[in-house]
């Protein structure tokens, strides 16, 4: 039964990792930008949700759509106003440095606005749990988080694969020049992609806020986690993020159970190094131009 509990816990944790990483993966895959402010955007999502929940009493899961909307707008402006400028005037490396600087600023802005004190989102159902056969338990918060993650990842996969804007994003990612020749406004597509990524980062922040207490410095951990998930699963697709996230969750809980609770991070980085050596494009690696 302990093995079943470990697998279940790993899958739930993995769902969170996957949702938190999908935006990072998309930006890396389509724009080729390693967005080091990704974790900070996740944290903004968590804080916005906390603010809405705290001030209006709205259920945190219902806060996700407005948070995504706000962060989509933020991401769009951020890319058009800053990232694109850095890419145009210098290089992709410069854009990475810009995102690092923005991450530092956002972290301190959150401290200024919300104080450095940790916050947590505890709706009425936060402490409920299901007890399954054999004494296996699972808390409602985490199972809801997993459900919301899968639903959002599914929605993103649908948008990318079945809608016009999704086709345009994929086309631009594969061959920017060809897309331009077909009349695609690549700059707009990049900004939309960044906006979508920021919106999904915000959604993951909302869900993480329900599961974990959070504080501004946590942003660095979520950027790092996203990076590991992307390396594991592959760049640029929701399925890659989902696979990487679920694997990371399983590795984390299995290591904790089999080797020791102090070792999940060590194992995570060991796998990261191995993947970079053996299969640098990830398990579901693709041929998006940005990440090549």
């Amino acid at each position: 039964m302990l093995a079943l509990q470990t697998i279940l816990d790993g899958l739930v944790l993995g769902g969170l990792y996957a949702l938190a990483a999908v935006g990072f993966s998309l930006i890396f895959g389509v724009l080729g930008v390693v967005n080091l402010s990704h974790g900070a955007i996740v944290m903004i999502g968590a804080y916005l949700t906390w603010f809405l929940w705290h001030s209006t009493g709205l259920d945190p899961l219902l806060c996700i759509p407005p948070v995504m909307l706000v962060l989509f707008a933020f991401g769009y402006v951020y890319q058009r106003g800053l990232i694109q400028l850095a890419v145009d005037r210098s290089s992709l490396l410069a854009s990475m440095l810009v995102t690092f600087g923005v991450a530092l600023m956002l972290r301190n802005l959150l401290v200024l606005v919300f104080s450095p004190d940790f916050k947590s989102i505890s709706p009425g159902w936060a402490f409920s749990f299901l007890r399954l056969a054999g004494g296996v338990t699972i808390d409602l918060v985490r199972i809801s988080a997993l459900g919301a993650s899968l639903a959002l990842l599914g929605a993103l996969a649908y948008v990318l694969n079945r809608t016009r804007i999704g086709r345009v994003i994929r086309a631009t990612a594969q061959q920017e020049l060809a897309a331009r020749l077909c009349g695609v406004n690549a700059r707009h597509v990049y900004a939309v992609t960044f906006g979508v990524s920021a919106a999904f980062a915000g959604a993951s922040g909302a869900i993480l806020g329900i599961v974990l207490p959070f504080a501004p410095p946590d942003e660095a951990n979520w950027t790092l986690n996203a990076f590991v998930v992307v390396v594991l699963g592959g760049i640029g697709s929701p399925s890659g993020a989902l696979l990487g996230g679920l694997l990371l969750g399983l590795i984390s809980t299995a290591t904790s159970q089999l080797i020791g609770p102090a070792f999940p991070n060590a194992m995570m980085f060991l796998i990261l190094v191995l993947m970079l050596m053996v299969r640098p494009s990830g398990l579901l690696g693709n041929a998006f131009a940005g990440s090549r």
Partner: protein
């Protein structure tokens, strides 16, 4: 001759007039006592860092409002030179070295043993005292440092009074497990817990070590459910404590007694858990309702009232500990009748003083005396933190046995 004398006189007068402000400034600077240091106002340790910082600032503000402090017949105003170390030990080290280079003689500590340890090494080398309310790791006090003083007993001695409390419980718990995170303070605190609990006759079931930053404790909690101890004792910082408690509630992981060294003291922790927080035990070093006499603030209650008038942030025991650092420093300077760092260090070592924070007395190694400065045991009751042990300082009746999570009201 007369003209020359008059000119000379005028030049001298003009020179003196020009020099007056400078002399005045020099005099004012000489009458300022500067306390330097770094403090985490941002980063992972900022929540408690802010509390310690507010304690320092409140004591300095109050003493200056009273006209300063008299040391060997000379009045001094106090000044703080504290900089944000962003919870980063390497940044803190740079800041402290810069303050040493600027001839600052007296240091206040940062928060977190991982920061206090390397910064104390610098002040020690420079033979400048550091009084701190943020580092309890044994390493700070067992490496031969002579100039570092702490407001808490070293980590491995912080649990003795709590073990004595557990032995008074009826029905008596017998077994315990420990969950610690992998950081300097928590690891040594956990080692002290195991040593003292086994010395007190309790049986260890499991000793778990988690990473420094926890995002999931489900595996450990599954193990706790499989091998349930009477007492689960947690050595970790606030945010991790809340995560663990939330996951325990949300997975129905019940133990007879949950003790979390850090966390339940904070209002944010108690609000997040709501009724579920009821009955959780913790260490507390201070309560404003105690009746200690302080040389400056008169009583803990008066200090708390003054703090509340000038701050919006809720008071916590780290605020009082920070203020006590300043009180202890100033009193030691008065006892030494000097502001020479070496003489002040000797006076600090000999300190035996009643303050708003309680009795301050240091061991030969510089940490707080385990009896005089050891913690009381607190318990969350009706959403508030109360002292339940020792009996003399009790502010509310103990809740024991503690109901299961779903039976709490």
């Amino acid at each position: 001759m007369a003209r020359i004398a008059r000119r000379t006189l005028m030049q001298a007068a003009a020179g003196a007039a020009l020099a007056m402000p400078a002399l005045h400034t020099a005099d004012a600077q000489a009458r300022k006592l500067v306390f330097g240091g770094s403090i985490p106002l941002s980063g992972g340790a900022a929540e408690t860092g802010l509390n310690v910082n507010n304690g320092y600032a409140t004591a300095v503000k109050f003493i200056n409002e009273q006209g300063g402090v008299d040391i060997a017949g000379t009045k001094y105003q106090l000044e703080l030179k504290l900089f944000d170390d962003a919870s980063d030990p390497s940044r803190a080290v740079t800041l402290i070295q810069r303050l040493i280079d600027d001839n600052v003689n007296f240091f206040l500590g940062s928060f977190g043993s991982n920061i206090v340890l390397p910064t104390a090494a610098i002040t020690e080398r420079a033979e400048k005292p550091m009084v701190q309310a943020g580092g309890g790791s044994d390493q700070i006090f067992t490496q031969g440092n002579r100039y570092v003083f702490g407001m808490f007993p070293r980590a491995t001695r912080q649990f003795q009074s709590t073990v004595a409390f557990f032995r008074t419980l009826n029905p008596a718990p017998k077994t315990f497990s420990v969950i610690a995170t992998n950081d300097a303070f928590s690891k040594t605190f956990a080692a002290g817990i195991v040593k003292d609990m086994q010395g007190g006759g309790f049986q260890l079931i499991e000793n778990y070590l988690l990473p420094e930053h926890i995002s999931d404790a489900s595996s450990v909690l599954a193990s706790v459910r499989a091998k349930t101890p009477d007492m689960l004792l947690c050595a970790m910082h606030d945010q991790n404590s809340l995560l663990l408690a939330r996951q325990m509630i949300a997975t129905g992981t019940n133990v007879g007694l949950l003790f979390q060294g850090l966390g339940p003291q904070l209002a944010s922790y108690r609000e997040a858990l709501g009724r579920h927080a009821s009955g959780i035990f913790y260490s507390t070093y201070w309560d404003p309702r105690t009746t200690w006499k302080d040389p400056f603030f008169e009583s803990p209650g008066a200090f708390a009232a003054y703090y509340a008038r000038h701050n919006t942030r809720p008071i916590a025991y780290h605020v009082a500990a920070g203020a006590a650092c300043i009180i202890t420093y100033v009193t030691a300077m008065q006892a030494a009748r000097s502001i020479d760092p070496v003489r002040v260090r000797d006076a600090l070592a000999a300190t035996d003083l009643e303050t708003l924070y309680g009795r301050v007395r240091f061991t030969a190694e510089g940490d707080g005396d385990a009896v005089a400065m050891g913690p009381s045991v607190g318990q969350v009751l009706k959403g508030a933190g109360e002292v339940v042990y020792p009996a003399g300082g009790r502010t509310a009746e103990l809740l024991w046995p503690v109901p299961a999570w779903d039976k709490k009201i």
